[in-house]
């Protein structure tokens, strides 16, 4: 049995704001295996990006605090790593592609500048001193890998000169350059039109196949992760509520929230109207105790209000955080 690549255990995180603490992450349990494509689905504001940012430790230290839990990466706890160690992880092991490619690129520097810097600081260490020519060659190779045309000219361009799709590919190239184990893609292609988004997702899939890297694909739309991932987590209000092999999740959703999400997808065939889920996500300043989905759940029981449900194994690889099981 392999060891998991990444494992978040019971992670609690809060943000300090004027007026109190936002208890954003409420016991996140999340596992990724080597070479796996994992999907993470949830509404905007449920804590997906925050979880990822805490894995990389790029949350502002003054405002965020992990109150409980561990993040084990390749056997070591990320939260306990020293600054140099986490820097190493960022340089070579894990990287993240952000939602908005336009905002992720520094507008006053060329693509070449930024990409080459990433390569320089990721690959160059005291051991292997790569010269500038070699760095440039690697940059061009990266750009080719993400299917960008005319890499030479691309290096001299500024982000503002590229289209959205191209910018997203550049971000992917930079992420590739600084990660060998895990790539986190935060809603890639959300701000792009559907055909481009499709291309990007396929590109990511190809990369995983070719390089053996693991990928976490975050999305707020179930449809996006359907064809691309092996396993999918569903997240709600700060913790995972269900996890299963993707096919299994779509065919046999267990948690009321997951069911609600799937029902909300408009269908071309079958009976007409879509059904939404009534209510809103809870505020994080004073969230409900117990199961956070309780106020919106149609099948709620008394115990749901009092205690937060742990992950209950229903079948092989399929777990639900719900008292109904």
């Amino acid at each position: 049995m392999q060891n998991p690549l990444l494992n978040t255990k019971d992670l609690y995180l809060q943000f300090k704001v004027y007026g109190g603490n936002l208890k954003v992450l409420n016991g996140v349990d999340f596992t990724v295996w080597p070479g796996e494509r994992v999907g993470l689905v949830g509404e905007t504001g449920c804590g997906k990006t925050t979880t990822m940012k805490s894995i990389l430790r790029v949350l502002p230290v003054s405002q965020s605090k992990v109150t409980k839990g561990e993040i084990i990466f390749k056997g070591k706890d990320i939260l306990k790593m020293s600054k140099t160690e986490i820097q190493q992880v960022r340089k070579e092991r894990i990287s993240m592609i952000f939602q908005d490619p336009t905002a992720s690129l520094n507008p006053v520097f060329t693509i070449g500048n930024q990409l080459q810097d990433v390569i320089k600081f990721s690959k160059v260490s005291k051991k292997n001193n790569i010269g500038n020519k070699e760095i440039k060659a690697q940059a061009i190779a990266m750009l080719k890998k993400v299917s960008l045309p005319d890499p030479e000219r691309m290096l001299k361009s500024f982000p503002i000169q590229l289209s959205g799709g191209m910018r997203q590919r550049v971000c992917i190239a930079m992420a590739l350059a600084s990660s060998n184990d895990l790539m986190i893609a935060d809603e890639p292609g959300t701000s792009l039109d559907v055909t481009i988004k499709d291309q990007i997702l396929n590109l990511l899939s190809e990369l995983v196949k070719n390089t053996g890297i693991s990928i976490i694909l975050i999305s707020h739309a179930l449809g996006a992760v359907r064809n691309i991932t092996d396993r999918t987590y569903v997240m709600y209000a700060g913790y995972m509520v269900e996890v299963a092999k993707t096919k299994e999740l779509f065919n046999n959703p267990l948690h009321p929230y997951t069911k609600g999400l799937l029902n909300a997808i408009p269908r071309l065939t079958g009976k007409g109207k879509m059904k939404g889920i009534s209510g809103y996500i809870p505020g994080y300043l004073d969230p409900p105790t117990g199961c956070r989905f309780y106020p919106r759940c149609q099948d709620a029981k008394i115990v749901c209000k009092k205690k937060k449900p742990p992950f209950i194994k229903v079948s092989e690889g399929h777990e639900v955080a719900c008292w109904l099981f």
């Binding site: 820097q87 990287s95 520094n106 507008p107 006053v108 990721s122 350059a177």
Partner: protein
């Protein structure tokens, strides 16, 4: 190629503005009640001679003709005679202009280096004691007029502590270098006369800093807030997550986009320095153009006044143009927008 056309367009625009300025000045000058010819010659001169001068000065012709003659003279560099100094205004300008330029130049250096430096340090260390000190400094700089600074500095550093001299450009004992540019510091360096150079610098410090405090406060304020805003941007977080070391992020990727707004107001700063220089020139008895112009204005010396206003207007326009070019170089977004003609 495209840049050249835009440059020329800008140039044309500036010329038009300067033309309008000259018309404005001319109009004001002619609106003044009183007879310029009589004012030039004095109240006791007989009427016939005054009439002669009026003919010479084209004062009896219609306004637009007068304007034409005036403009022609200006282009040749002839502004006429100054009422106050009785010399040609051209001469006066050659004497006083370099002094003001030197003062303003040093002030600009102060504003740019200290303003951006202080702002950057504060922006990177947000909400620490360094930042609070910097903000206090900004506040004081903004609310205090330059002449009040001049007086305070002169009192403290000139009289109480006696570190620096309080008047003039150079001490009486020091031999001034031969005049090449008119800027004593540069002339001294060219001549290799380090004593004069150092002495000139000592004379420059208080006036330059007094003049520049307000501008420095503004620049540091803007730099600080831009830096603080940018430090939370997505691209900075992204760069951090790619593993780029923190010091590279701060001194390169954060600094460059943050100084752009400050640089773009440097042109305005230059203009206001030129305009406000006389306040400081008065107190430190600096023989500069601003002081000369101010005297001219108070004595209703129209030739001198128009000359000074025009020259300052030109300098202002040139400074703005230079700043535009620099901003274009720094920020590709603006450069490309301009190329597309937006």
């Amino acid at each position: 190629m495209v840049n050249l056309i835009i440059f020329l367009k800008r140039l044309l625009y500036i010329l038009l503005v300067l033309l309008a300025l000259s018309i404005l000045i001319f109009a004001i000058a002619r609106v003044v009640p009183g007879d310029p010819a009589r004012a030039a010659l004095g109240p006791r001169t007989p009427e016939k001679i005054i009439q002669q001068l009026r003919e010479e000065m084209h004062l009896n012709e219609p306004l637009h003709v007068q304007y034409y003659y005036w403009l022609e003279g200006v282009i040749r560099g002839d502004f006429g005679k100054s009422l106050v100094t009785r010399r040609s205004v051209h001469e006066d300008i050659k004497i006083f202009f370099p002094a003001t330029i030197e003062l303003v130049l040093f002030s600009m250096i102060f504003i740019t280096l200290v303003g951006i430096g202080l702002g950057a340090v504060c922006g990177l260390n947000k909400n620490t004691w360094i930042d609070n000190l910097g903000r206090l400094n900004s506040y004081i700089g903004v609310v205090t007029p330059s002449f009040v600074f001049a007086i305070f500095f002169m009192l403290i550093f000139g009289y109480i502590l006696e570190i620096v001299p309080t008047a003039g450009r150079i001490s009486a004992e020091v031999i001034a270098p031969p005049k090449i540019t008119g800027l004593i510091t540069i002339d001294a360096l060219i001549a290799g006369n380090f004593l004069a150079f150092w002495d000139a610098i000592k004379h420059l410090i208080l006036p330059a800093i007094s003049l520049g405090m307000a501008g420095m406060a503004q620049v540091s304020r803007i730099t600080r807030s831009t830096m603080a805003d940018n430090s939370e941007r997505d691209y900075i977080i992204a760069e951090r997550s790619y593993g780029i070391p923190e010091h590279i992020i701060m001194y390169r990727y954060l600094l460059k986009p943050s100084i752009i707004p400050s640089v773009s107001i440097l042109g305005l700063q230059f203009g206001s320095l030129l305009g406000n220089a006389f306040l400081v020139e008065l107190i430190f008895r600096w023989p500069g153009l601003s002081r000369y112009g101010m005297n001219a204005i108070l004595s209703k010396d129209l030739n001198a006044t128009s000359a000074v206003v025009l020259i300052i207007g030109i300098c202002y326009a040139i400074a703005n143009m230079i700043v535009d070019i620099i901003v274009n170089l720094l920020d590709p977004r603006i450069r490309l927008q301009n190329e597309r003609g937006e």
